[in-house]
Structure formats: C-alpha cells, structure tokens
Amino acid sequence: MSRYIVRRLAFAALLVIVVSSASMILARLAPGDYVDLSLPPEASAEAKAQARARLGLDRSIGAQYLEWLGAAIRLDFGRSFLYDRPVRELIPGRAANTAVLALTALAVATLVGLPLGVVSGSRRGPLSGTIRFISLVLLSMPPLLTSLFLVFVAARTGWFPIGGIGESVLDRLHHLVVPAMAIGLPLAAVLERLQAQAMGEVIGAPFVLAALARGVTRSRVVWHSALKPSLRHVAAVYGLIVGSLLSGSFVVEVITAWPGLGSLMLDALRARDIYLVTGCAGTGALFLACGTLFSDLALGVVDPRASERVQEAA
C-alpha cells in the first residue's frame, strides 16, 4: 500500500510540474506579449524595449524558464504584470473561492445524484422514469447552459443574487446557490445514471436474492446490503470528476462573475501575464492531483481489490 501511495504522490508531483512548465512555455510562445497589449500602440520602440527589460521579457524562453524554476523551488512564483503584485499573494484567495465552489457543487451532486440513482436503479415505474428523464435533460445541459438558465431564473424572480461572493456567511451561501447548482446539477445527473446502472447490476446478484428470501425487507436490502458494493462505480469516477469540476467552474465563474481561479486565469491569458497564467495553471494542477489522489484512496476503501489492481497496472 505504501508503495502505491508513493507512486501516486510521484504522479501528482509530475502533474503539477509538467502543467506549470508547459503553461509557462506556451504562454511565452504566444504571439504578442504583455508590453504589446498594455502600452498604447503609438508607444516608441525604446519605451517598449525598456518595459520588456523591466519585466524580464527581453530574455530567451530558456533563460526565463530556468530562472522561474529556480525561484519557484523557493516558493517565489514571480510577479504578476497585470496586478503588479507577487503571484503568491494573488492566488490563495481566488483558489479558496474556487475550492468552496467546487466542493459545494460536489456535495450537491452527491447528495442529489446518489440517492436518486439508488431509487431509479432499484425499482421500475413512473418515479424511476421521471428521474431518468430529468437526468437525461440535465445531462444535456452542461454548466454553460445550466448557469445561463439559472441566471435567467434568478434575474426574473430575484430569488438569488448574481455576481460576486457576498459579505457575511449567510450572504455568501446565498451567492453560492446559482454557481454551485450550475456545476452540481449536471454532475448529479451523471452520478444518478452511473449509480442507477451499478444498482441495477448489484440487485441482480445472487446475494440480494438470498437476503430477500431470508425475509430481509426490501428497503434494507437496497439501502444497506446492495448499496456498498454498488458504490465503487461512482467512487471510480470521482477522480475524473475533479477535472470536470474545474472545467465547469471555469465557465460558471465567468458567467456568474465568481472571483475564482478560472476567471483569474482567463484575465491573465488575455493580458499575456505569463507568471500569473503559470501560477493559476499550477494551482489547478495541484487541485487535480489532490483530487485524483483522494479518489484513488477512497476507491481503495470502498473496493479493496481496486488498489491492488491499480498497483499491478502501475
């Protein structure tokens, strides 16, 4: 087990390093730089050259990358051109906002999707049919459409505020509703469908029939005996879900003006603020790495065979 964890940790570290290095190099390779975009077009070539020298954009990609890498090891991730502040100070607040949003969305998805999946997977009839249909509708509404729809509803009814994150704790929760639902509901549909499928398979297993034959009540069989073995399908995709939470939060942050990592990265990309782009990408990769690590361990708990399998494959 410990070897397995070490391997996963190594992969996590590799992920963060490769993603931040790649985004640094890609951002630097992009045509046009911060100086071109921020100085007025009539600025003289001298002024531009001076600005480049000041920001360190006059050096080669290789030299700049090595210097960044050297500083990054000492946890200095450079200075944002756009905000004129160290990247290290800009990221934590935004990252916390994204984490709050993503975790709330995950909670919504799990609390709504899993129980409904157990219900629709373990019985037939109109209730299951309705759940299935709603899931299919939500599956066809990625966060882009869900958030537009929810913002539309919120603007019409005035039930929920849109934009910003609010002041007090209660106000924050109120602001969280629209963005968290926009990411959470499509995910809930995915989990519902997966759980229903897994439940259907487990219900057909001989041990379920045996339990029923011995007189255990139906609801106890479904919610107790059959639930745990059916959970491993969902546990297996939790690692992938982190990726889609980040993807979803990007769109939703832009549409609902939630000040998170995604909208910060978009601003940085547009302005060619290379250190900030790199910082955002690296933090995102860190989230991703933690998420995959966590889901690998969770899968090991729900399905002990999985960690051995992964170990063999790795």
């Binding site: 890609l26 046009g32 299919l136 990625p142 882009l144 539309f152 019409r156 995915v190 980040l246």
Partner: protein, 329 residues
Amino acid sequence: MSSRIGAAVLGIAIATAVAAPFLAPHAPGDHADRLLNAPPTVPHLRDDSGAWHAPFIYPWQLVNQLEQRYEQDRSKRVPLAWLSNGRLVASSDDAQAPLMLLGADSFGRDVFSRVLFGARLSLGLAAVAALGAMLLGSAIGAAAGYIGGVWDDVLMRTTDFVMVLPAIYVALALRAVLPLVLPPRTLFAMLAGIFAVVGAPFIARGVRAIVRSERRLDYASAAEALGASDARLLTRHLLPATRGFVVVQITLLVPAFIVAEATLSYVGLGFPDPIASWGTMLHDASSNLRVFADFPWLLSPAVAMFLVVFSLNLVLQQAGAPVVYNERS
C-alpha cells in the same frame, strides 16, 4: 420511441443548417438600425376586427428609445412574401417591418436567421473536429496497439496525461498560443485541430484495446499467415472491428465540441463577433445585463444547443450505449 424523436430533431437541425440561406429571412449580417433588441415578430392570421388574412405581421414601433421598448403598430398589416428573392419567407416590406421570428439582437440583426447560420458553423465545426479526433485517435490507438512495446507505453502515458487535464483548459491553453485575430477560415481549421487533439485520447484508448485483443484472434493470424502486410491487416481487418466503439465515441464528442466552441467564443477566444455562431451570439447577448430580464430571445442559441445535445443523448440512450462518464463537456 424517444430515440426516434431525437433522430428527427437532429435531422431537422442538420437540414435547417444546410438550408439556412433558403430558410433564413435575412443574411446573418443584415441589421435594422431602428430595431435594436426588438422583440420577436409573431405572424398573425386574424386582425383586430376578427377578419382572416394570409399570414401577416405588425411592424414594431419604438416607444422608448432609452429603455428600447417597442409596441406593435396595429394599424398597419404587413403581409409575408413567400418564395421571393430565393428565400422561403420574408416580410413584404423588409425595410420598415422585417420578419424577425426570434427578435433582434443589440445590433438589430435577426436572431432567427443568425441561429440558423450559426448552426452551420457550430455543428460544422463539431462534426469536422469529431472527424479529426477520429482520425488522430484511431492512428494513435492503432499504432500503440499494433506496434506495442515502448511506443505503446509512450503513447498511452501521453493520452492518459491529456485525459486527466480538464479539457477546456487544454483547449484554452492551445488557443492562447495562436494569434488572437485570425481569418475565419484559418480559425475554423485551428479550432477543429485543437478540439481534435483534446478529443483524440478518448478514441485512442479504446481503439488500442480493441486492436490488441483482435490481433490475437484466429482470423488475424490467418490473414497474417496468408501474407497480408501490416498495413493491410490493420486497415482491412483490425480497424473495422473498432467501428462500433468509434461511432459511439463520436456521438459523445460532438455535443462536447458544440459546447466547447460556445464556451471559447463566449469568453472571447473563439470566433470574433460579426461571424454568427451559437457561441458568438451568446457572447454578444451576455454583454448586455438586461438580456435575462428584458431580452430573453437573445438566449435562443442556448436553447438550440440544448435541443441538439438532448436529441443526441436520446439517440445514444436508446442505442443502449453505456453511460460513459463524459468529462469533456
């Protein structure tokens, strides 16, 4: 049953996209400067006195310039002109009372016509990108599965890596490397290429697994024993076995690509404004804060997108395709 409805809606969507120049009352760039954000013009059959007429519309009259509020001018009936100027239907007085079935956008352009023309770009891009992902993914998968060894390791580890990353960020990063302003055709090709790269790993993994297992079967050995070359064995025998898998994957990728185009255009990194795509239309709509409360028709591209993705899902569901965890969207 539901899969038939899905297939029908899809068919209609594709047909309207192809026939857009005939079905749309206006060209995507036509704009009526008097009618910024005007509401939809609804065709009527009866006038106020209760008399029946051939379909006609009432022109919009601006009542409040600042709030952009309009009222119907019930005194004038403008009949519709059918099959004139190579269009199915248009207003007989296009200059004064244009037919705008889904209202006008903030430039006074006909939203209905732009949704139809946008479908060409959005659906076309998704289709071309899915084709590209299929070619690229099959090539990678076939190479990895057939050659095996180090190549297999390198290719599969790379695809694993790309699959772990959130797709929209990969697309964003690749898009950001290209110049911000590009001619539309180049942009179309570049975006299709980016989406193909992002989608290819999902196809490559499955194709590799199928090629590997099929290769061990008797028919493959027989073909090899009969002297079939590697290329022949692959293209005539092994790759056809992946057909079913690839078709399902493509139906999963197409909706993801439609949404990806919309997302990129929405944040301003996709197609630029005068071009009509569903994403640029949403981008334009989002620039106006009153869209949600006062001009909901500007969100029609979102509805169109939902209908297409939903009908694709209906078709897939009925075809018994497994619920594949679809991270790409």
